[in-house]
Symmetry: C2
Subunit: 226 residues, 2 copies
């Protein structure tokens, strides 16, 4: 079977893979609430698949810190807390700072162009109010780091990104963080990165994260979430 035929037949990965991505999305977007019991049978019915793929997907999500495993009592969606959020924010700032500097240190034309492209796609999606804005927003941020020759570090950053964005979803898209001039911030990050200005890029990136972070931390402190 060729790649094209594969595409047509819709076999875009195993049942486990699909369940993994679907469940991850449901947890990150808050469709499955923090602390909620994740019953195999319920999920099996909801995603119309077997129990094995669900179990395996939940296992994988456990290691992403999105699902907690309780001894012999199954799984639940990870809890949220102010301290957890603060930890994520702090770690993210440390690790992304590291990754961004490494990425810039290995800058080349290809990377530069990838950033411009990712930025454009994100802007376009935002203007069109496309649903895939969030996907492209993550892609933009990961592209900034992608040149760091450090796959483990990038994996950590990706995980932390997802843990963080979950809080944003839980705060509700109503609390539209886009009201702030995020576009301006993104542009600044892009231009400093492309200019190989490591200090400038890092500073603007961390400011970007901390502004959103402080905002969400405030909500958490008020008990507005959960």
């Amino acid at each position: 079977m060729t790649a094209i035929e594969t595409e047509i037949s819709g076999r875009d990965g195993s049942a486990t893979h699909k369940a993994y991505h679907r469940l991850r999305e449901m947890i990150v977007t808050g469709d499955l609430r923090p602390g909620e019991k994740l019953k195999i049978d319920t999920l099996r019915a909801r995603l119309s698949t077997g129990a094995s793929p669900i179990r395996e997907a939940l296992s994988l999500l456990t290691s992403d810190n999105l699902v907690e495993r309780i001894d012999q009592r199954g799984f639940r969606a990870a809890e949220i807390s102010a301290s957890n959020f603060t930890e994520i924010l702090t770690l993210r700032c440390t690790l992304e700072d590291l990754a961004l500097r490494e990425s810039i240190a290995h800058a080349d034309q290809q990377w530069e162009e990838a950033i411009v492209l990712a930025h454009h796609r994100m802007q376009r999606a935002k203007a069109d109010k496309k649903a895939d804005f969030e996907v492209l927003h993550k892609a933009f941020h990961m592209t900034l780091l992608a040149n760091a020759p450090s796959p483990i570090l990038l994996k950590f950053c990706s995980q932390l990104y997802d843990l963080n964005i979950r809080y944003r979803y839980l705060a509700g898209s109503a609390l539209d963080y886009q009201k702030r001039d995020v576009s301006e911030e993104h542009s600044l990050i892009m231009s400093t990165a492309i200019a190989r200005d490591a200090d400038g890029a890092s500073a603007s990136l961390l400011r970007h994260y901390r502004m959103t972070g402080d905002f969400l931390a405030g909500l958490l402190g008020d008990g507005a979430l959960g």
Copy 2:
């Protein structure tokens, strides 16, 4: 059933748990070589358990970067490389530095005593040439960090520790890293940590890692491993 009864009855977790720990150990110690194909059926027979626990254990190990999943072709033990080793060492230095400083910042008597105890147990095991030296060595290092109020960071450190120690096992215990005066280094780390000397503790910890690291990196460069 109380915790003590559980202990006695030997029911120390599910089949998946046991398989997970056993497989992790086999990979870390090099019993399963880097890149080796991990066939479900072979492992099932070897650990005398079912296929489901094996699959689930391998899934979990995937997220620890100890096992790689190949599309629809099963699992294999993670590959090793000089760049991978360097990355682990670098990340470890960064993250443990962070964790150690946080740990010291939250120092209290209980933590102090835990360190002394962990250190003593490790020394004792080493003198007796006990097989559990490695377990206690890890325990000592993790205890140093354990006071950092940052579970995700500690998890990362634990993962990186295991990834790193794997290289040491692969280099062979023949290349006894204990020939160096590691005891002296451990003592220095302990005393500086207990003295709440964050800079001193961090410096001695990182020196400890880098010395072992440089030694192993040399071996890797010569192609003595793999």
